[in-house]
Symmetry: C2
Subunit: 317 residues, 2 copies
């Protein structure tokens, strides 16, 4: 019988580990709770970058290189949009746009975000459960030296260039966990925090009232998104540094505070094991860089094996 | 000095003659009033088929064969929409969709339809004035043996198959002419009714309160959309027959009642000239079939030349 797992995910690294977990766990054993703080409205369309990245990755449709969008994408919609004087800073592919248009129409017709995700997963042949962290409007705002920016403006339009001072999850205080989120967390034997950006992918999830407490009540294993002082992709390491923190698995552990029972770190960071263990964490050293699909599965297996040891440790003191 | 002309248009035949008129008349001499009864909302997008056909045609972007949509179009948006379980009966090309998305966002942001058309014409490099017949919601409804159908369902989804009993222009009674429409009609020296479907392209325009009266106050020349008992494209002839009327330039003249001062008919219908003249119409026989761009220009020149004679006749009784 497989471990009942909830994964917290957002972004490319999170999507890749979620894909590995989906490859080794049966559908009823895995629920993936996804960040919605990156969501925004663009051209009147509801765009959900992290949910789409996870969905496209699990459906085998993700672009193998870019880390966003679909494979075999074409760009005639965007080109024409530019010719008509429309905005082109956010790159909407022809195929990707179909999902945004369909979703927007479903939401306008009154569908719940959880229903929309469920329907899309069914159409895309994803048997595992994906849940938006909340069905309310939460928007990650980035405080920078150039003032506060909505996440996509910071991330895409400004290419993470402005120096970060902090984050605010607008709307989080008054949001509620999405349908099924608390139930899944309470039923989980272990929670895996995917190697996603702690500041902008995982923190928004934990900012939804009730989620941090539910996570804290279960054994939690995090896979470090920092390898040898750098993020594989995205601004996580840059943000750590701009916040005055040396990026490392240690910094990630500190960031999550008392939440973690265990951690999976890369071989490149094996020397940090004693320091992490001295903070009461069980540590597994593994290859955390996921270049090929087989790497996702191997890391998922290592994380699950480690999670089992953390769970057993907790059960038998 | 060129004649000040207003053209009434909708659909492919209308767009082609409008394009011919735009080729021979300077921008300040030509205003094209376009049917909006075909407009509908699909997937949450504001789709304006007749305005788009006229815009694409005048911009040189129209598909040379289909009679709708753009040349060099691709279909990845639509294919993906189908894969996601969305509706595919209305064929939205990747490039075409950019226009619908941009327009919908402009309208949601509060832009007037006339502003949206003006902006699109500017972006597409169309120097002549295009005006929506109204900026209010008018919807052509088709009474058929299968019940009343919204126009696009009759025209696209049902491929004009159901037998027509009549038409209703929902919302027309309470609509107002679009910005500039009455001014253009009153300033026109002649009004040219393009070879568009009288029932579903021209009648909706005339159904907007104030437009029929304004048209009736000016010299009017119609180019027959019926050639040798058939329409070049679309259901005009089929509709005439289903309404119990033999389709011919004579039937078109009767349809427009006392509105017309002159008519341009095809060489194939030259024998009808006496019958039309006995109804008080000035008749010009010309090649009305527009296969090549040069045909559009030649027909525009014939129509304008004929219009001049109708205007002069009216001035000097």
């Amino acid at each position: 019988m497989a471990l009942r797992v909830v994964a917290l995910a957002g972004g490319v690294g999170g999507a890749k580990l979620a894909d590995g977990l989906a490859a080794v766990l049966p559908p009823q054993s895995l629920t993936i709770i996804v960040n919605t703080g990156d969501d925004f409205e663009h051209l009147g369309l509801a765009i959900w970058p992290d949910l789409d990245t996870v969905m496209y990755t699990l459906a085998g449709l993700a672009h193998p290189k870019t880390g966003w969008g679909r494979r075999d994408e074409t760009w005639n919609f965007l080109q024409t949009l530019g010719e008509l004087g429309g905005p082109t800073w956010f790159r909407l592919g022809d195929r990707d746009t179909a999902l945004h248009v369909l979703r927007t129409q479903q939401l306008r017709a009154g569908a719940r975000p959880a229903d929309v995700v469920e329907g899309l997963c069914r159409q895309l042949g994803i048997p595992h459960t994906l849940l938006p962290m909340t069905e309310d409007r939460v928007r990650t705002m980035v405080a920078t030296d150039d003032g506060e920016l909505p996440f996509q403006e910071y991330f895409v339009a400004r290419a993470c260039e402005p120096k970060v001072r902090g984050f605010r999850f607008d709307g989080a205080e008054s949001s509620a966990p999405g349908r099924g989120v608390l139930e899944a967390l309470h039923a989980a034997e272990v929670i895996i925090v995917c190697p996603s950006n702690p500041w902008v992918s995982i923190d928004p999830i934990l900012a939804v009232p009730g989620i941090r407490e539910a996570v804290a009540s279960r054994p939690v294993v995090a896979v470090s998104p920092i390898i040898a002082g750098e993020a594989v992709r995205g601004p996580a390491a840059k943000i750590f540094r701009e916040m005055g923190i040396e990026p490392s698995p240690l910094a990630v552990a500190e960031h999550y505070g008392g939440l973690l029972g265990g951690m999976v770190i890369d071989r490149a960071d094996a020397a940090l094991r004693p320091a992490l263990e001295s903070r009461g964490l069980r540590v597994r050293v593994a290859q955390t860089l996921m270049r090929k699909p087989a790497d996702r599965r191997a890391l998922a297996e290592a994380a699950l094996d480690h999670a089992t040891s953390v769970v057993n440790e907790k059960v038998t003191p």
